[in-house]
């Protein structure tokens, strides 16, 4: 029977999992257990009502509605989180048809870190937070580039790492590691045109392509020959100058070399 391969997540998966395996989780603590976070939560509640909030690995996690992201981050900035360290998404399209977007914040005055999270359904947009934290400018562009989450009111919503005419968003779980068809033919399509795919052919497509089977006996230095050819089984002295010598260069033999004990 042919093996079933899921199409919604083509990333590498564990080939075997014990069916009695119990999956542990990082413990999530209530915000009440930490005095600093408790105070910050009370201050935050004056602005927005979080959907869920807890402490995970000593960092405060706040779940919000996606449409309240800018409002929440403004509030967080007012509380003392003056630095947006990172912003990105996690693809959960296969499980729940959307992305988890996180905003990783740092408060230098309170010495705490917090993560604001929201769930963005597929094909929905998100408000830009560039006006609150400037560091979101490039981070949002990267998120759009990698996941295709469109950001509204961004000053320059353009791809950042991939070329402007790239097809697809590489960090989606549906995107294969070695690229989809458009990615594999990208250079040929842009340089010559799609109609030349057949002329060039898959062998010539990739200039870095290595044919692993074109030669044989490669492990023995200077004995490598084209596949199928016969090779002499005579040992070759591995010294790096020809017998006749090179003009002005003295021949070094292995026996004559010496190793220094200390650097000079």
């Amino acid at each position: 029977m042919r093996q079933f391969t899921p199409k919604d997540n083509v990333q590498k998966k564990a080939y075997f999992t014990d069916r009695f395996r119990i999956q542990p989780s990082i413990p999530k603590h209530k915000v009440e257990t930490n005095e600093t976070f408790q105070k910050q939560l009370e201050a935050l509640k004056a602005y927005v009502e979080p959907l869920d909030t807890y402490i995970e690995a000593n960092q405060w996690v706040i779940w919000i509605k996606p449409e309240e992201n800018k409002q929440t981050l403004e509030a967080m900035k007012a509380i003392g989180y003056e630095n947006l360290s990172e912003l990105s998404a996690v693809d959960f399209i296969a499980q729940k048809q959307g992305f988890e977007v996180f905003y990783q914040l740092l408060s230098m005055c309170h010495h705490t870190r917090a993560r604001v999270k929201c769930f963005v359904p597929q094909n929905e947009t998100l408000q830009s937070v560039e006006s609150v934290y400037k560091s979101a400018n490039w981070a949002e562009r990267e998120m759009y580039d990698m996941f295709g989450i469109l950001i509204e009111n961004h000053p320059y919503m353009k791809r950042i790492l991939m070329p402007d005419d790239w097809h697809g968003h590489p960090l989606l779980k549906t995107y294969p590691l070695l690229g989809d068809e458009a990615a594999q033919w990208y250079e040929i399509d842009t340089l010559f045109g799609k109609e030349y795919r057949d002329v060039v052919g898959p062998e010539q497509r990739d200039p870095a392509r290595v044919d692993l089977e074109d030669t044989t006996n490669f492990v023995r230095i200077r004995h490598e020959v084209p596949k199928g050819a016969s090779y002499a089984n005579t040992p070759i002295e591995q010294e790096y100058q020809e017998e006749e010598g090179v003009f002005g260069v003295k021949k070094v033999r292995k026996a004559q070399t010496k190793t220094l004990k200390e650097r000079r």
């Binding site: 080939y15 690995a57 360290s85 996690v90 010495h111 560091s135 990698m146």
Partner: protein
């Protein structure tokens, strides 16, 4: 040449756009530019000699490391992290090892922490030396380039003696380090620590009061504290604008709370202030290294954590005990399965705050790994940073901001 396919590329004179209504000139700098320190392209709009608008373009070295991480077991990813900030590879190895250790919640033996810290500080020195060499070369000081590379060679020799590699170290494992220090290594390190402060004096003698150096750096690329916070600047750029924030002090990891060192801070926020900070940081690194030699001699042997569930047992156990061998086999073929959850851990790399975010669904492969590269945000800041500066000072700012394109594009 009958097999040649005609290509669609047309000549495109992108360098100069003369015809503009507002009398401004658009020039293209890079991606192949000697002072771009990699593949960085800047599209500059000039108003006379001053920069009116900058659009930095990155991505020429994008290798999809985050995608690769999703398709690798945790241990497999360590050599890939080397290729991010390739002038200080161990600091990336450490950042990744630390976030996984936080995820699986284990404690690393003391000696391993000391060896890691030695590597981190050596990497900091090597990175700062490369920064000094190339930045000075960009600005016009040739001599300092040769001096700094000479001392960098000593640092690389030390690292090579430890792990066998000079550039891509892979010298740190999840749960510890692969090897103990070789015999006599601390003696060599001590000799280096004695020698190096004098060399820093030499660099400072050449540069600190040098009139040309001061003219090129003073008042150039000023960063205010507000800008630094808002644009996510970290490391020396943040400290150069008067904010005392070094993760080694503020959120101490490894044994940074046991060693004495100062965090230099400057108020001016210009390139010259940052230059002075870099020099002082190298001195502080030497100070840390000297203390680490003493700590190393007092420490117990033991370089990898004893958590057979996540990390392979020591070789002796694997070779003598059946169960350790079985666990090792599973860890090598399937990989470790950390608990479900998400963590973000930041370390102070030579460039700034290097953070790793991991979302684990309990599989041997991370469900999502995000690298917070300091240079990415520093490069994004160019859009505001360079506006109003002279065209000649663009090179100073690129060099001074210490960006590494391998880290920006990942």
């Amino acid at each position: 040449m009958e097999n040649q396919i005609p290509n669609r590329l047309e000549p495109f004179f992108e360098n100069i756009a003369f015809e503009r209504d507002d009398n401004r000139m658009v020039i293209n700098m890079g991606p192949q530019h000697p002072s771009a320190h990699g593949q960085l392209r800047l599209i500059l709009e000039l108003d006379g000699e001053r920069v009116a608008k900058v659009v930095p373009c990155v991505g020429y070295m994008h290798r999809g490391m985050e995608k690769m991480a999703e398709n690798m077991i945790y241990n497999e990813f360590i050599p890939t992290t080397d290729r991010m900030d390739y002038v200080a590879a161990s600091s990336n190895n450490y950042g990744f090892a630390l976030v996984v250790e936080k995820l699986i919640d284990i404690k690393v033996p003391r000696r391993a922490e000391i060896i890691r810290m030695m590597l981190l500080e050596l990497n900091r020195i090597s990175s700062h030396l490369l920064w000094l060499a190339t930045h000075a070369l960009d600005v016009g000081a040739m001599t300092i380039f040769l001096y700094a590379f000479r001392e960098r060679e000593y640092v690389l020799d030390l690292i090579e003696d430890y792990c066998g590699a000079r550039l891509t170290h892979s010298s740190i494992r999840i749960g510890g380090v692969p090897l103990d220090l070789p015999t006599g290594w601390t003696k060599q390190l001590e000799a280096f620590c004695e020698k190096f402060p004098k060399d820093i004096d030499d660099y400072e003698g050449l540069l600190t009061k040098n009139r040309i150096w001061k003219m090129r750096l003073e008042g150039v690329g000023v960063v205010t504290a507000e800008q630094a916070k808002s644009w996510g600047c970290t490391g020396v750029i943040l400290r150069g604008s008067g904010i005392e924030w070094d993760l080694r002090k503020e959120e101490p990891y490894a044994l940074y709370d046991e060693v004495d060192f100062d965090v230099p801070v400057a108020k001016a926020g210009d390139s010259y202030a940052r230059y002075l900070l870099y020099m002082e940081e190298m001195r502080q690194s030497v100070r840390i290294l000297k203390q680490l030699i003493r700590l190393y001699e007092e420490s117990e042997p033991g370089i990898i954590a004893d958590v057979p569930r996540y990390i392979s047992a020591p070789k002796e156990q694997i070779m003598t005990q059946n169960y350790a061998l079985m666990q090792h086999f599973v860890l090598v073929t399937q990989g470790m399965r950390p608990p479900k959850g998400e963590v973000y851990v930041a370390t102070e790399s030579p460039k700034g705050e290097l953070g790793f975010y991991i979302n684990s669904q309990g599989d041997p492969y991370p469900y999502r790994l995000k690298v917070r590269a300091p240079s990415f945000f520093h490069c994004g800041f160019y859009q505001e940073w360079m506006v109003g500066e002279y065209l000649a000072d663009v090179v100073t700012i690129i060099g001074n901001s210490n960006i590494i394109l391998g880290e920006i594009d990942r």
